[in-house]
Structures are given as C-alpha cells and as structure tokens.
Symmetry: C2
Subunit: 112 residues, 2 copies
C-alpha cells in the first residue's frame, strides 16, 4: 500500500459526513463529489464506500431512501441525521487535534 493510501485511513467516515452535511446524496455521487472536490486525491473505493454507508446507517449517522430515476433505475439516497451531524463535529474536532499534534512533532524537524 502506498503512503498516500495509508494516510487516508480513518478519514472516510468524516469525509462522507462532510459532503452529506450539505445535501443528501447517493453512493456513487458521494465518491464522485469527493474526487471532484479534491482534484482526484480522494477516490473512495466502492468496496469501502458501500459497506461503510451500511454501517453508518446501522449506527444511525445517516438515513437512506430509494428513489427511482428514468425508468427502472434506482438510487439510494443517503441523508445525514442529527446524530450524524454530531459525529461530524466530533470527528472534525478530533482531526484538528490530531493535525495540530502532528505539526507539533514535525515542528522540530529540519525539512531542508
């Protein structure tokens, strides 16, 4: 696994909650939106995205609702819940804390 992949670990729930906090989206849309906003940096694999959305629903962070578009095609829209918004705030804060601690340790390093 690349360093890049390794670093991204643990940020997935936060990222999903972040985009859903603006508007409900379906799975495929979420992955596209994250890629778009990060210039392709975040490309969440489906094998991670869908199971995670299911878990988040079980945990009450999101709700879901099937919607039919153009004929027989279906999309499952996910919306953030109140608990999800709280989790978003909590996780965003945790990330801020982590990043500041990391900067602290790196501060002494000479990156010439």
């Amino acid at each position: 696994m690349s360093i890049r992949d390794q670093i991204r670990k643990g940020s997935t729930t936060l990222l999903i909650l972040a985009v859903l906090s603006e508007e409900p989206m379906y799975g495929y849309q979420i992955s596209r939106e994250l890629a778009r906003r990060s210039g392709g940096y975040f490309d969440m694999k489906e094998g991670l995205l869908y199971p995670l959305l299911h878990r988040m629903k079980r945990e009450g962070l999101v709700s879901s609702q099937w919607q039919t578009v153009s004929g027989a095609r279906r999309r499952k829209y996910y919306a953030i819940t109140k608990a999800g918004l709280e989790a978003l705030q909590e996780q965003a804060q945790e990330w801020q804390m982590f990043m500041s601690q990391l900067q602290g340790v790196l501060a002494g390093v000479n990156l010439s």
Copy 2:
C-alpha cells in the same frame, strides 16, 4: 477502536522518523519522546513500535546498534539513514498534501 485511535493510523512511520531525525534513540525512548512532545496524545504501543522498527530496518530507513549501559543492561539504538531522511521528507509532504485536501473538503462544512 476509538475515532482517535483510528485517525492516528498511518502516522507511525512518520513520527518515528521525525524524532530519529534529530538524534539516535532506542525504542523505549522513542515512545517516551513522542508522548512527551504531544502531551500524551501519541502513545505508541510496544506491540506496534518494535515490529515496526524491525521492518524499517529491513527497508533501510534506520540502522540499529546494541549498546550496553550500566552493567548487563542493553539498549538498541536506532539511527535514521539517508534513505530514512528521504522517506521522512516524502511522508511529511504527503501529510501536508493530505491535510490540505482534508481542509478543502471540510471547508464547505458548517461546524456551528
């Protein structure tokens, strides 16, 4: 696993390289130093630290050397190598990139 633990994943190699870039240290010292610098935020478990140091040595990022102190007591000192310094720079840059992308996605979020 807590969110906090989850977030820290992937930062371990960078943290070790960071402290070793200043001076050679032995395992126990590394974990203490990281905890000290982060006010206890980073507490690297031995079950992670030692195997990781071994792997980093295999990969040529660090070198090691036994040293005897006061009688029969031994410490294994690790020193960063040239390749380790390069990896440190690369990983630090990756982290900067990641953090800026994350901030980018979070930027639109209303964290009231």
